[in-house]
């Protein structure tokens, strides 16, 4: 057990995977000598060689397409996409090949490819460096999509993703790379399951579901709400496809209220999926319609405006107030003003 950063935990997981399985190869722009622009692969090329940790020529379609070929040949490619907004040239390979080859070949060909994607905003970057494209991929059958929120999960889940015989998109909340936490490297890849959600804080009044960068924010919101006597149960989805509905449903049956928050735009996002899925499963237990607190339906804005776009503690609590029918932004100002 040691204390390390979120980013270093991923590095440790990658190192372990490279150590344990000679078929694991890392591919991506600037991941070798430089160690990646976020230094997640720092030192790995030096230790494992440039045949295991490849600096790729600058083309995401090329990287993903050659990863498919390597997987055909029995390798386990781990691809780094430098920033969320640069995944789209690879979109065709991911959607038409990576996601479908197992199905197309009736199980003959496996695509155990892991695609690491630093995602999300809040780091003051220019366009294309702060996006949350996860819903494009959760909408694509055949892909698994995950997003860790703690250093321990970062470590365990990257190992699980690499070991998984399905293709996995592994979304890294880049603004949390420097967050520190305990990591037990002796934890196996068996539990919790890569697809399992986690109850972060237990509560009885409202279920607050999120993933990735906003888990910390949601936990802070729960803490702040407890001062007002509101008990929030925070759930970290961890897996966005498939969704662990069992955990979310059990919570909503208890609280009767569901708030979902993510940085991605609202329309067609994970919040919509969860709201529909939970409504179908336990409509009779809901005391209020599911509430979404999300990024707006706009292109990611310039960095001076991103704090408005991104759900923060206050906006999440406003969503909680709506679910609880307390005074909120839609009903008008609270007597005591904002928190």
């Amino acid at each position: 057990m040691s204390v390390t950063t979120f980013g270093r935990a991923i590095t440790a997981g990658l190192r372990r995977a490279l150590d344990e399985d000679p078929k694991v190869v890392l591919m991506g722009e600037d991941i070798g000598q430089l160690g990646g622009v976020f230094r997640i692969t720092d030192g790995l090329q030096k230790d494992f060689g440039s045949h295991r940790v490849l600096d790729s020529p600058l083309a995401e379609a090329g990287i993903m397409g050659t990863a498919v070929g390597l997987a055909y040949r029995g390798y386990r490619p781990v691809v780094e996409i430098q920033f969320d907004g640069f995944i789209y040239p690879a979109f065709d390979q991911i959607v038409c090949q990576v996601a479908k080859l197992h199905y197309r070949t009736q199980g003959a060909v496996r695509m155990p490819i892991t695609v690491r994607v630093p995602f999300g905003g809040g780091i003051g970057s220019p366009e294309h460096h702060s996006e949350s494209p996860e819903a494009y991929f959760t909408h694509t059958s055949g892909l698994r999509v995950v997003s860790p929120s703690t250093p321990q999960d970062a470590y365990t889940m990257i190992r699980q993703a690499i070991a998984c015989d399905d293709p996995v998109l592994y979304f890294e909340p880049k603004r949390r790379y420097h967050v520190k936490g305990e990591v037990d490297e002796s934890v196996g890849t068996g539990t919790p399951d890569l697809g399992a959600a986690r109850v972060v804080t237990e509560g009885t009044d409202v279920t607050l579901v999120t993933y990735g960068p906003l888990v910390t924010t949601a936990r802070d919101a729960a803490l702040a709400a407890s001062d007002d006597g509101i008990s929030i149960e925070v759930i970290d989805l961890r897996s966005l496809a498939p969704i662990d509905y069992g955990t979310v449903e059990a919570s909503v049956r208890k609280t009767g209220r569901l708030v979902i928050t993510h940085e991605a735009a609202q329309s067609g996002g994970l919040g919509a999926e969860l709201a529909a899925g939970i409504t179908e499963r336990c409509f009779e237990h809901l005391e209020h319609a599911p509430v979404r607190v999300t990024g707006f339906d706009i292109p990611y804005p310039c960095s001076k405006l991103e704090s408005h776009h991104l759900p923060d503690l206050d906006r999440i609590l406003d969503g909680v107030d709506r679910a609880l029918r307390r005074p909120n932004s839609l009903t008008g100002a609270t007597p005591g003003g904002a928190r």
Partner: protein
């Protein structure tokens, strides 16, 4: 990787050369008119293209180089002082950008990457407009139609296709202007750039592909993208190409004029590889000491584009001390103006979040904006100002 940063071009397997040699991205000698010591060499094909460049014109090119380098240094300093979120320095690439940029006509249209701030300067982009995106104040710095230059492209290589399509439009309109795509050595790997060449050749579009091979794509040496000089690729697409010394402003002017003339007269696309060097970091967020060696920088410092033109002017007696001082003062004044424009840039209002998403306002976005207004009202704020 060899120490000059290039991947060896003829790696062998069991004694057999995998790729036919000579295979090195720097194998071909670039066109140059002025050597690193400032000595002008005659060139049968290119001299006529710059016959009009007299002493005064050379001095104007020199002033451009000094000013854009000064702008670049000031912007880098502004980033270090927290006034800009990020800046992509062009240090070392001034001649490639000024030589090509000054060859253009106002009605030509430029599609560039993020590093072409000197080209933008040539197009007449305002100082504040150069900085808006990097300060995080806006999604773009200027209206492309006011200066005939698209706002800089961050998605590597995408703009090569845009330039080609724009050029197809020029042809369809029967005009004689030209579209110019600027991109880097790294970009040459992207499908978009290669597809652009196919389209441009097929339609004989009036487009110039101007590749600045600055030897690096962040930490990746050009040898990872190309085993042979990049300029050699274009003929395979049916596009004539030229490899030019990108640190020789006169040579860059000459080859760009040649390419533009070909395009204007219906001769179709041209591909220019300007061989230069990124003297600074990839951006202010980058640390090049992690991946390249100091001696490489020394090698290129001796080929500095500005020092070269200064030496040439000096040899012609065109760089007296008072003139050099005056140019420096002018550059300092531009830098001061840039700094002031940066610091006094208005903060964007939150209401801007919802503007221009679609050509017309629409109800579902208005609903989100309205809701956000009500939310801000909880804090006693409006989206014209914002709570924080």
């Amino acid at each position: 990787m060899s120490s000059d940063g290039a991947v060896s071009g003829s790696r062998t397997t069991a004694g057999a050369t995998v790729f036919p040699g000579p295979a090195h991205p720097d194998a071909d000698v670039p066109v140059h008119l002025v050597d690193p010591d400032g000595v002008r060499h005659p060139h049968a094909s290119y001299d006529p293209l710059v016959a009009d460049v007299d002493g005064a014109a050379l001095q104007r090119l020199y002033e451009d180089l000094v000013v854009v380098r000064r702008i670049d240094a000031e912007a880098t300093a502004l980033q270090r002082q927290g006034e800009l979120a990020l800046w992509p320095p062009l240090l070392g690439q001034e001649a490639a950008q000024i030589g090509s940029g000054r060859a253009l006509r106002p009605d030509d249209f430029v599609f560039s990457s993020y590093r072409e701030n000197a080209v933008a300067y040539c197009r007449g982009v305002g100082l504040a407009d150069l900085l808006r995106v990097w300060r995080g104040s806006a999604s773009s710095g200027w209206d492309p139609y006011t200066v005939n230059m698209a706002t800089p492209q961050i998605i590597i290589g995408a703009q090569a296709l845009h330039a080609t399509g724009y050029a197809m439009g020029i042809t369809a309109d029967g005009a004689d202007s030209v579209a110019v795509a600027y991109f880097g050595d790294g970009a040459t790997t992207q499908g978009d750039v290669n597809e652009a060449m196919v389209f441009a050749a097929s339609y004989q579009a009036p487009v110039v592909f101007f590749c600045q091979n600055n030897h690096w794509a962040i930490s990746e040496p050009v040898g990872l993208q190309a085993r042979v000089p990049i300029a050699r690729r274009a003929p395979g697409f049916g596009i004539p190409s030229v490899r030019v010394d990108g640190n020789d402003v006169l040579a860059c002017l000459a080859v760009t004029r040649e390419a533009l003339a070909r395009a204007r007269s219906g001769g179709g696309p041209t591909y220019i590889e300007a061989v230069t060097y990124r003297m600074g970091p990839h951006t202010t967020a980058d640390d090049p000491t992690r991946y390249r060696e100091a001696h490489e920088l020394e090698h290129w410092a001796a080929r500095d584009p500005l020092a070269r033109l200064a030496a040439h002017l000096d040899s012609l007696g065109l760089l007296p001390a008072e003139y050099a001082d005056a140019v420096r003062s002018r550059a300092d004044a531009v830098a001061a103006e840039l700094r002031e424009a940066c610091i006094s840039m208005p903060e964007p209002a939150p209401s801007a979040l919802f503007e221009h998403v679609y050509s017309e306002p629409n109800s579902w976005l208005e609903r989100q904006q309205d809701h956000y207004e009500r939310y801000l009202a909880l804090f006693g704020a409006t989206s014209a100002e914002g709570p924080r």
